[in-house]
């Protein structure tokens, strides 16, 4: 991609931002989802409602927060509520359209791990843990997931299921008693995956410009299913790139180092 005028991360962020419709009520995870959700707000979705688990509802930060509770989020919010209220009334109460999550590991059914690499009691890597994700994954009406694609991230078997997607596929999510739709979209730096309507296995449906199927397969720890009709993601527009880069530059300045 070095001959292109944008990076793979920029393509990923733009592709994820485009998936958020104007007016959507979106519960935003920190990191990659936060960048994409705010890019959506600054481009095609000015009336998107961004909610962070720190209790900020309808927040409009001028710079990306480093943490889930930066002051910027509270100062620019329509309302700030307590954390118990956030999880009980707003998330569990069914008011969230899209839960937008990142992950350390993802499997073919959109289950995610943010807890440990290796055994739980003797972990190779102790990750931060669940945070709000397990209940976001089951209470938000649908889930978007964003992470960079590689064999250590897109794995055949998760070391730990932190937040459930389609469980073991088919109707297994429903049989767990989960009434919401689950992960309807995964955006990576290589392409876009959506679940098969029957098996619920994530299927490659779009490749970003310059990426071929072999590269996507090599970056996936399971035999990757590819849609019969494979799209090419439209590249970022100049307006999208300008908005994203300006946001990243403001953010880097605000946090006192490279973001």
């Amino acid at each position: 991609m070095h001959d292109r005028a944008y990076t793979a991360d920029e393509m990923m962020t733009v592709a994820a931002a485009r998936a958020l419709k104007d007016g959507t009520v979106c519960f935003v995870g920190i990191g990659l989802p936060s960048a994409a959700a705010n890019l959506a707000r600054l481009t095609h979705a000015p009336d998107i409602v961004l909610i962070y688990e720190s209790g900020t509802i309808g927040t409009k930060p001028n710079v990306l927060p480093l943490s889930i509770g930066d002051g910027e989020l509270a100062e620019t919010a329509d309302a700030v509520v307590s954390v118990p209220e956030m999880f009980r009334y707003w998330l569990q109460g069914g008011r969230i359209d899209v839960g937008f999550l990142g992950a350390a590991q993802l499997d073919r059914f959109g289950n995610i791990n943010t807890t440990v690499i290796g055994p739980y009691d003797k972990p190779k890597v102790r990750l931060p843990g669940a945070g709000g994700a397990p209940e976001i994954a089951t209470s938000a009406h649908e889930i978007f997931i964003m992470l960079r694609q590689g064999p250590r991230a897109f794995v055949d078997k998760l070391d730990f299921v932190t937040s459930v997607g389609f469980a073991t596929g088919g109707d297994s999510r429903v049989r767990l008693g989960v009434a919401t739709r689950g992960p309807t979209l995964v955006v990576s730096d290589l392409g876009i995956l959506t679940p098969d309507p029957e098996t619920r296995e994530l299927t490659l449906t779009s490749l970003h410009p310059g990426v071929d199927v072999e590269r996507a397969r090599a970056a996936t720890g399971w035999p990757l299913k590819v849609a019969a009709r494979l799209d090419t993601t439209p590249p970022p527009t100049p307006d999208e790139l300008e908005a994203l880069r300006a946001l990243n530059q403001r953010t880097a300045r605000a946090h006192g180092s490279d973001a």
Binding site: L73, S82, R126, A130, P134
Partner: protein, 285 residues
């Protein structure tokens, strides 16, 4: 009933070895000054409770204050791992650390249940996750009205809650605003409560519906301006994001961590002295 006392006296009188201690703050108003005082006074065998353990719990764990952590997300937000927490979990240094791990929704509900005097909290949660397999306190009930299976967790009833707030008045009534997290619930759930504040004023001038902790819900109020740094106090100072980034290399190795703690925390008597000691050298590397 709140007494306005020094932080040293509050920690000495209200936090004992072996206590369960919830030092809460959801990114905002994190009680760093109080955490340092616990380290200086050498508390041991604490059960530390917090939804989002970050730098101050990393320091307390690395200095050997804790034997157990009850939490739902442990990291340096936007930066990466807590290296001292990881070292304790992965290598047992400086001491093994037992984990009781939850989701945010469950811990928020558990504090709420504690404040409400209930034995447990109920939520639509933990569906499909592996957490209940590793945390036996997570159970379930069948709703008597609908038949729905719902998750339960025991109420959180800490021995001590410690929070930081913007203001107290001279009688010890406390006001906080901005991102208020679970601080009110933690204080009302706990047997004892310590509040550090940015300033002590004649009148709170709290608007109706503000988060006010009346003086009779709090045991000690301690004046500690800047006591949430490097987290922030809305209306007083911003989150020092550069400091959170600078913490990562300091905490990565045991010797650099211990050296830093000795120079800045053990080698100072108060949070004000600690802040002055930071000014004498570059920490924002």
């Amino acid at each position: 009933m709140a007494e306005i006392v020094s932080l040293r006296d509050a920690v000495a009188n209200l936090i004992k070895d072996g206590d369960s201690v919830a030092m809460e703050g959801f990114t905002h108003l994190i009680p760093h000054a109080a955490g340092h005082e616990v380290i200086r006074q050498g508390r041991r065998d604490l059960t530390l409770i917090r939804m989002t353990p970050d730098m101050i719990y990393d320091q307390m764990i690395g200095m050997g204050c804790a034997r157990k952590l009850v939490f739902s997300w442990g990291g340096n937000p936007g930066v990466g791992s807590l290296h001292r927490l990881r070292d304790a979990v992965e290598q047992g240094w400086p001491a093994p650390l037992a984990l009781e791990e939850h989701s945010h929704a469950a811990m928020a509900n558990a504090y709420d249940a504690g404040a409400a005097g209930l034995p447990f909290a109920v939520l639509r949660g933990y569906l499909g996750t592996d957490l209940p397999a590793h945390n036996k306190t997570i159970k379930s009930v069948i709703c008597p009205y609908t038949g729905e299976k719902l998750a339960t967790v025991p109420a959180l009833r800490p021995d001590v809650a410690v929070i930081h707030a913007q203001k107290a008045d001279r009688r010890g009534n406390v006001l906080l605003w901005g991102i208020v997290g679970v601080q009110k619930e933690a204080v009302l759930a706990a047997k004892r409560a310590i509040v550090t504040v940015e300033e002590i004023v004649d009148a709170l001038d709290a608007p109706p519906n503000a988060v006010v902790l009346p003086r009779w819900t709090v045991d000690a109020v301690c004046l500690e301006p800047g006591g949430a740094h490097p987290s922030y106090a809305q209306g007083y100072y911003k989150r020092d994001n550069a400091f959170y980034k600078a913490w990562d290399p300091i905490a990565r190795e045991r010797d650099t961590f211990l050296d830093w703690m000795k120079r800045h925390v053990l080698g100072t008597d108060t949070f004000a002295e600690y802040r002055a000691s930071l000014g004498r050298e570059t920490v924002h590397a």
